[in-house]
Symmetry: C2
Subunit: 211 residues, 2 copies
């Protein structure tokens, strides 16, 4: 008999992976079970429904990502550099996922939320909640950059919203076109939006190339 928590963790990981790379409705409980080496009975011992599994899976996915986000958006890092790090980390993640699956998969939250938004209030609420958490990272970046004089924007909240919308729009476009280009462009695009001085933009670009 496998360790109890191992089974649950395996199901969460497998579900998050499969749903991310295909979609919620096109991946059945059956397939999640066989891919993770579990029996259906065991599945329904740990989760009351497929929906509850998905809820737990994206929660767990965020729990795993959070430390990296905290580091990338560390207050010890200059605000605009945080954006660059975030863009590069996104590219890293997407590249890795593509190597594993053959597909650029975009943002798992947006893909799931967009698919089930009108059908599962619970999943929609959970996705919205996690997106709001993500928004706060961008909010603090813009506020810090404004306070330090690196940028000059009229409305920090709106600017942060624009940044996140842009990120998610680009990630989704990457998924739809199955191309990394939108994510490769992300750093420059983010800096363009906050109106960073041209010198900073060029510096960031050449720094990336020399890596």
């Amino acid at each position: 008999m496998a360790k109890p928590l191992e089974t649950r963790a395996r199901l969460l990981k497998t579900a998050a992976d499969l749903i991310w790379q295909s979609s919620y409705h096109s991946v059945g409980v059956e397939r999640i079970c066989e891919q993770s080496g579990t029996n259906k009975g065991s599945f329904y011992h740990h989760f009351a429904s497929k929906e509850e599994l998905a809820l737990a899976a994206i929660d767990e996915q965020w729990r795993e990502l959070k430390p990296r986000m905290d580091e990338i958006f560390s207050a010890a890092t200059p605000p605009l550099e945080r954006l660059g790090r975030y863009a590069r980390e996104s590219l890293r993640i997407q590249t890795a996922k593509r190597e594993e699956t053959g597909f650029v998969c975009g943002c798992p939250l947006y893909a799931l939320g967009s698919e089930v938004g009108t059908q599962s209030p619970q999943l929609r609420a959970k996705v919205a909640e996690l997106l709001d958490t993500r928004f706060r990272y961008f909010e603090s970046v813009v506020r810090d950059a404004q306070a330090s004089g690196e940028i000059d924007v009229a409305d920090t909240a709106r600017t942060a919203r624009v940044l996140l919308d842009l990120v998610e729009g680009a990630l989704t476009r990457a998924r739809i076109t199955n191309e990394l280009a939108p994510i490769e462009d992300l750093e420059q695009s983010l800096l363009l939006v906050v109106g960073a001085p041209k010198a900073h933009r060029v510096r960031a670009a050449s720094a990336r190339k020399s890596h």
Copy 2:
């Protein structure tokens, strides 16, 4: 016996509507048929598969939308005003759809493309093609605005990309949160990105309120 072309058209319209407001996988052929008052046999007389129906449906949806897009993005309209008109038309469409369904449904192309992108090469290609068409409207807006001196950007193509990514990101967020706010903010956000003079932004805002 119903008119032959009417049946096909009814199926296309119903499919586009249902898939938009729920999702591709959660809408069955059965439901599309009963909702449009068609029999399954008739369905498979007109379409070889559900996938082919979806392909034809988004094509038809675009065929219907195109005249409005051409008018909104008319070269006779000042470039930045085109963005405003586009944002307001988007809000109008989303508001109408919400009244009909109770949900903010976002962009049908992005919702569909994001869902089936990794599973149906044909649908993904078609969505990507239509998105590229949409991109060209924004490209010409930015170029025209740059030529007339209304804005000053370093890279018109990138700026146009950012605008469209922002639009789609906001529309998808509207779908996920089931709120119109992201779309209500769209006009101001677009103008913020192209760095329109503050006077223009304020003018646009007050003009909208007074309507």
